[in-house]
């Protein structure tokens, strides 16, 4: 017979999860919003209006706030002047680079979906799995990889120098940011569109053909309507992600090409917390709106099931005749571009980590990672503690995020009001940037919160784990919920009828059957934690809470280390190895990520 404690265990788990979410996410984020709209406990629009009316932030749109009545005349003047270029401001530039990045990601990713869905070749399955990799690759590491490839002493210029060309400067430009964002998000486009393409029932295409449609007409009438929602979904997500992108813009753009996210970080560093909060509030409002649109759109697309047989794949290579087929040659050329864009930065990272600037092999950078040198040598970021911290925080994140993720998955699969609540809980972290969470935790947890007269504070490391758990638990849920939902409810009922309480049925039967999904979610959570930069860089204080990504940031920016990227690339390679292992674990365990 079930004990009382067992019967209360699940509601208690739900309550505990909500409590933790409040502490690690909602209260911190709420405190940021509060700072933007409250002054001494009274509502105020001051900070928000200050941002909106400053052309530095809103560009030409600041007239809407400052002088709304003059706007029509201004527009007329602009038209009669022959459309001179207008000032975008910080928000305008952020949206502009996000739009460019979205276009680039679609251009780079869409052909990939075509190749993966329509051609058969050795390594196709592996490539398909690899499209999940960007979700586990730390952005700061990718930024370092881009510096290693395109920087002044990078692989590209080294190669150009061999043939007497160069040097070229690609870094610190909008192009570099857009390319790095495409590196990140094109695989997402590929992944979502490939899945949609594979869900096209070949019998539908064959029916269209049998009724007289040409291959192109059948493609337009049957395949395109299936691909369009997936493509729009991917584009919308890419826009949200690149709108909120932080380390890539910080490292490849710098403050000259700052986005809202980078500027929030800058304001926090300058202790101008009110402006930071106002910026964060406006930014989050925009991304929440976009995420809401995305969710509404996605909900309408659901139910387009992929029953039936997928379209047959053609062999990609057909011996020497491959070169006589224009489409196949185009595909191979595309493959070359993909190799340069995706393999290039990671390979550069590896190569730069074992070569000196003059091209000789060295292990000095890895020795540097292991050496317990004086902290003065590299500022305050010593390498070994950073590696240890990252692993410890990763473990701490698992302790929090795995139970939370499983509990939310349970609520989500139960259906009804609970599942809508769970959906809302899961979507919020998508729309709130790591910087905002970090800023909120700084204000609530690190600086302390007064509860019933006691000031509760959390040490830096604890706040870091909080931030990581908030970012990581949705990945656990996204993996576990489909597995739980796919389980025959009869398993649970059979256990209950045999005398198991709800909790025992979960522990004895359901969780063992979805163990692979829980582990895949845990591997995701670990990778997210190890790679997390945005909130960690705000919360890390001193040697106690530096992580690998934060150390990486310091090394890239530290001129005292000389022109060599060595220490940064060596650290980046360690990060790559850890996240690579996580990917292997996720892939082996059948992990998935559908936003």
């Amino acid at each position: 017979m079930a004990t009382r404690a067992e019967r209360l265990a699940l509601p208690a788990g739900v309550a505990a999860t909500l409590g933790v979410l409040l502490v690690v996410f909602y209260v911190p984020v709420g405190s940021v919003f509060a700072q933007a709209v409250l002054a001494a406990g009274r509502p105020t629009l001051g900070p928000l209006l200050a941002v909106l009316s400053d052309p530095f932030y809103t560009g030409v749109a600041h007239h809407l706030v400052v002088d709304p009545l003059g706007v029509p005349a201004g527009v007329v003047d602009w038209i009669t002047a022959g459309f001179p270029s207008i000032r975008l401001g910080l928000f305008g530039f952020t949206a502009y680079q996000a739009a460019l990045s979205t276009v680039a990601s679609v251009l780079l990713g869409l052909p990939g979906a075509y190749v993966l869905a329509r051609y058969e070749f050795r390594g196709r399955r592996l490539l398909r799995s690899l499209t999940i990799v960007p979700f586990v690759l730390p952005a700061i590491m990718v930024a370092v990889g881009f510096v290693a490839m395109f920087g002044r002493t990078g692989l590209l210029n080294d190669l150009l120098a061999l043939v007497g060309l160069g040097p070229v400067s690609v870094l610190y430009s909008l192009e570099a940011i857009v390319l790095a964002h495409a590196f990140y998000n094109a695989p997402l486009v590929t992944r979502l569109v490939t899945t949609a393409w594979e869900s096209v029932d070949r019998r539908q295409v064959e029916s269209a053909r049998a009724m007289g449609a040409s291959p192109l007409q059948a493609f337009r009438d049957v395949v395109v309507p299936t691909l369009r929602p997936a493509l729009l979904t991917a584009a919308l997500l890419t826009f949200v992600f690149t709108f909120l992108s932080f380390p890539i813009v910080l490292k490849l753009g710098g403050l000259e090409l700052a986005t809202v996210e980078v500027w929030v970080y800058d304001r926090v560093q300058a202790l101008d917390l009110t402006t930071a909060a106002a910026l964060a509030t406006l930014e989050t409002g925009l991304s929440l709106g976009l995420t809401y649109l995305y969710l509404r759109y996605e909900a309408r697309q659901r139910g387009a099931s992929g029953a039936g047989q997928s379209l047959a794949r053609k062999p990609l290579t057909v011996g020497w005749r491959t070169l006589t087929s224009p489409t196949r040659v185009t595909v191979l050329a595309y493959g070359l571009v993909v190799t340069v864009v995706f393999v290039g930065p990671l390979a550069s990272l590896l190569i730069e980590s074992v070569t000196t600037p003059d091209g000789t092999l060295t292990t000095a950078y890895y020795e540097f990672l292991l050496a317990q040198q004086a902290s003065e040598a590299v500022g305050t970021a010593r390498p070994l503690p950073a590696i240890v911290n990252s692993l410890v925080f990763g473990a701490g994140t698992l302790v929090l995020a795995v139970p939370m993720g499983v509990v939310v998955a349970l609520v989500a699969t139960r259906g009804g009001r609970g599942s809508r609540l769970a959906e809302a809980l899961l979507s919020a972290p998508l729309a709130v940037s790591g910087i905002v969470v970090g800023l909120g935790l700084l204000q609530t947890a690190v600086f302390g919160t007064v509860v019933f007269g006691y000031r509760l504070t959390a040490a830096g490391p604890v706040a870091v784990v909080f931030a990581h758990a908030a970012a990581a638990y949705p990945f656990v849920t996204r993996n576990v919920a489909p597995a739980l939902g796919g389980l025959d409810p009869r398993f649970r009922e059979a256990a209950r009828a045999l005398g198991a309480s709800r909790l025992r049925a979960l522990l004895d039967v359901e969780l063992p059957l979805v163990a692979a999904a829980v582990l895949a979610g845990a591997a995701f959570a670990f990778a997210i934690s190890v790679g997390e930069f945005d909130s960690t860089v705000l919360l890390a204080e001193g040697v106690d809470s530096y992580t690998m990504p934060v150390a990486l940031d310091r090394y890239v920016g530290n001129r005292s280390l000389g022109p060599s990227l060595g220490p940064a690339t060596a650290m980046g390679t360690v990060l790559l190895a850890i996240t690579g292992l996580s990917f292997v674990a996720i892939d082996r365990l059948g992990g998935r990520w559908a936003p």
């Binding site: 017979m1 398993f491 009828a497």
Partner: protein, 355 residues
Amino acid sequence: MSGVRLRDVTVSFDGVTALDDVSLTVEEGEFFTLVGPSGCGKTTTLRAIAGFEQPDAGTVEIRGEVADGPPEERNVGVVFQDYALFPHMSVRENVAYGLRYRDPPGDASPAARVEDLLDLVDMAEMGDREPAALSGGQRQRVALARALAPGPDVLLLDEPLSALDAQLRERLRVVIREIQRDLGITTVYVTHDQTEALAISDRVAVVNGGRVEQVATPETVYREPATRFVAEFVGDNNVLDGTVVSTDPPRVDVGDGPGTATAGNGETVLPVAAVPAEGRAVTASIRPEAFRLGDESAATLSATVSTTEFMGDSYRLHCDWRGHTLLVTAAAARAPTGEVTLGFDPAAVTVLEAQ
């Protein structure tokens, strides 16, 4: 003391009533079957007994005690259609699972109880296998052993055989019936297959649209259906709408063609055994095997054979008669064709007042 009793049980899902004020009594040790078309509420009834569904109104009693707790607090054994064996446990671990939470009946140790049950279902050699390595029939027997291991008060079987092929189904239902009789366990069995229901049960409840149409022995349900639905659902039958045209002698006019039921010129008047008052709308039903080909000793019809089906031990004839198609079972050596005379005993015609 009854084994299971439902009193005025109503269950609804999102405002749709699945069970409408159902009352049933299953006697201790009885093999009781709920039969009906899909969606009729038979599985919901079973799930209400097991505790998987909470009634909106009414009570479930097991062995005279009100059962309103969760499933683990009701001493029931459940066998599902798709077995629901735990795939991550061996056959033995599956059967032993219920003994983690309940003591085996009698003085047997849990381990001995498991072996006894495996023996009972003839799976003693298979204890270490994984469920995935078993055939459908073997899985079903393990599921039965698992449900019985803790010595439940009631055994609930939800379409336990419908995933199996026809031959195996007939063999296993005998196995289930024999085990049930040996253990004397109160059993509620759910099936959509009326043949299975008639073959296996002490009593049958025919369920339709969330209501119980008739509860009786298989023989009574077959021979004396209480409602038009039971007459049509249980076994092959010829069900004709008509009107009482005379009470002495009792006569029903079934009209020309289905649904017309017009009092005609006497050509479509059937002699029957008993009728309600004159002018009442009724349905008259007569089983295919109640017709005797060429027998003119009692009442007769003249019909034309349109299609014959050879059934092995007999022929099944589809006969045209005044716009109706009558099913007739004929034990003849050769397929009858053309005009036939169908003799029948008026007492074999069941007359029900139209609802």
